[in-house]
């Protein structure tokens, strides 16, 4: 029960929301780069919110299933194919024993997520199934997937999903190659000159090739600090934007270090982190400031949106409804 990895792809790892509670000991949270696509992938299958998935980066894997199950692929458009036929993203798909799923290269975005109805059988380490590449723990043997690996999946009691045909969302979230990223300023905003803050908030930045699971460096105008940007090392939040002495902002992502010694001009708000994680090299971004209250409101709005998605995929589709209508009509004939 499971699947064979025919091709591992560029960087395919098992991820969930990561390992929290150990940051005081220098252990980063890690987890998926794009929490929104991750959440929607599990939602499409009625999986638990934090069920582990495969995160594919830029070039996806090729998998051969050794048992039937249901999968869903979300995130950037990686042009997935099942047995050489294109299959849709953001849709629950039946796969049978012997089927070959080929996740191609990213047409849009940077990562995509494959969720499985039969859960990935990898051990829970320190409360998470995420792969921590630096420490070589979690996920599948603490590393990225390689050609020839075999991943077992656990049998789920439920053999089918209700409302199967309506389990699709038409989302194209990462098509644009420019984005406005909202930030809460600080905590070291005062370390920057007014010229530096003006450059940060009123210019266009370019996504550089220095982009990995730890973070992404931006090219653009010099973001000037008042007296060098070194601080006494302090804790780093997900999405914090450091500006070292070279004046180029670095947005810190899933695998960022827990603490660091560069001043942070601002922090990307949670709902915009997926947009950052899904940028491609040479994409353009701009920053705009909002308050922490506004940012937290956006997060609540997003929760309602997930609920709305759930309602949408839990509706009988038109065909089913029509069958029922037909049945009702038939019934009337005989009453």
């Amino acid at each position: 029960m499971g699947f064979r990895v025919i091709k591992g792809g560029l960087l395919t790892t098992v991820q969930d929301l990561g390992r929290s509670g150990y940051q005081s000991q220098g252990f980063n949270v890690g987890g998926v780069m794009d929490q929104r696509s991750f959440r929607i992938a599990n939602l499409l299958l009625d999986n638990p919110e934090n069920e582990a998935v495969l995160e594919c980066t830029l070039i996806g894997p090729t998998l051969e299933f050794t048992s039937s199950q249901i999968i869903a692929i979300t995130g950037g458009d990686f042009r997935p194919e099942l047995n050489d036929d294109p299959v849709p993203m953001y849709t629950a798909i039946y796969v049978n024993k012997g089927d070959v799923l080929k996740v191609g290269s990213a047409r849009t975005g940077r990562t995509c997520y494959i969720a499985f109805s039969n859960y990935l059988q990898v051990p829970v380490v320190m409360g998470s199934r995420s792969t921590n590449l630096k420490c070589g723990i979690g996920g599948f043997k603490g590393r990225k997937l390689q050609d020839g690996d075999y991943i077992s999946t656990r049998i789920k009691r439920r053999k089918y999903l209700p409302y199967f045909l309506s389990r699709t969302l038409s989302l194209h979230e990462f098509d644009s190659n420019s984005a406005t990223i909202r930030v809460v300023m600080g905590p070291q905003e005062e370390a920057f000159s007014s010229k530096g803050i003006d450059a940060f908030l009123n210019s266009e930045f370019t996504i550089s090739s220095n982009f990995d699971r730890m973070g992404v460096r931006l090219d653009g105008p010099f973001v000037e600090s008042k007296t060098g940007s070194d601080i006494i090392s302090d804790g780093i939040a997900l999405g914090a934007i450091q500006v070292p002495a070279h004046g180029k902002p670095i947005i810190l992502l899933a695998d960022h270090q827990t603490a660091g010694g560069y001043a942070k001009i601002g922090t990307v708000v949670s709902v915009d982190l997926p947009k950052v994680a899904q940028r491609r090299i040479d994409d353009k971004i701009r920053f705009t400031r909002i308050t922490v209250e506004e940012a937290q409101h956006l997060l609540k709005v997003q929760e309602h949106e997930y609920q709305e998605f759930r309602n949408r995929i839990h509706k009988p589709c038109k065909e089913v409804l029509e069958v029922r209508l037909t049945a009702q009509r038939l019934e009337k004939l005989f009453v």
Binding site: S20, G21, Y22, Q23, S24, Q25, G26, F27, V29, V125, M126, K134, C135, I137, V183, V184, G186, P187, I231, I232, S233, D234, G235, I236, A237, L238, G239, A240, Q257, T258, A259, K264, T267, V268, V269, S270, V292, E293, A295, Q296, L298, L299, K300, E303
Partner: protein, 242 residues
């Protein structure tokens, strides 16, 4: 509270900035504040990162708002100033100094103009405060290394330093918790695993605790190592007055 500032770091973290200096007293206030906040079991807090002079609190804003957390935390930090300083917790870490276990001990001794025995005596003669952990899981930022044995880092870093290596890098000393590249001068090795992902508590020590290095012989080292591998070794913890 003087010299205290509470600010948001994004929408899911709150930063308490104490006086921005590296000092044991400021650091101890942070350790105490972190313990008190933990004891309150405020729902929504997911993680805390105490560092030299600030405390970052990560939280789930769907459970508690910034405003509500700010109020809770501010009152706790204020209360903390009336707390008595507690006893200090000192982890006794056995170290086999020199030889193949500490290939740079002679360099450190030469740089200091001391004998290797004198370097060991100085290095193992102090309780080092753990200001914070970071860089690697379980990597301790220790304060209190005697200036006499400060030693510059290696000109070209080693590609792989084995877990358990004890070294000096400039004015800092510490233990490598896992195999890692690094540029510190290696003076010895501990058989104790400061980081073990398979253990119930993967990382032994906490910020605010102390570390004391205890010299051991090769025979003792091997005994302890066998006990560590068998899972029967308990690191000695001593309580001391602040």
């Amino acid at each position: 509270m003087q010299n205290l500032r509470i600010v948001p770091e994004g929408d899911s973290s709150l930063l308490i900035q104490f006086e921005q200096v590296i000092s044991p007293s400021v650091n101890q206030r942070i350790a105490a504040a972190a313990k008190l906040i933990k004891a309150q079991q405020i729902s929504g807090i997911t993680d805390m990162i105490p560092t030299y002079c600030s405390l970052l609190i990560n939280y789930n804003p769907l459970v508690i708002s910034y405003d509500a957390l700010y109020k809770r935390v501010e009152s706790i930090v204020r209360m903390e100033s009336h707390q008595e300083a507690g006893q200090k917790k000192i982890w006794e870490i056995p170290v086999l100094y020199g030889g193949a276990y500490g290939p740079d001990l002679s360099t450190i001794a030469e740089h200091a103009g001391l004998s290797e025995e004198e370097v060991i005596k100085i290095h193992s003669g102090t309780d080092y405060l753990i200001y914070m952990l970071g860089f690697l899981p379980g990597f301790t930022y220790l304060g209190g290394l005697d200036e006499k044995i400060h030693t510059p880092r290696l000109a070209s870093p080693r590609v792989r330093i084995p877990a358990g290596s004890v070294g000096i890098g400039g004015s800092q000393t510490g233990i490598y918790p896992m195999d890692s590249p690094g540029g510190w001068q290696l003076m010895g090795m501990t058989p104790v695993k400061t980081y073990d992902p398979a253990r119930e508590t993967p990382i032994l020590v906490e910020a605010g605790d102390y570390i004391r290095f205890v010299p051991v012989s090769e025979a003792e080292y091997l005994d302890i190592k066998a006990a560590v591998d068998a899972g029967t070794y308990q690191v000695r913890v001593r309580k001391g007055e602040d």
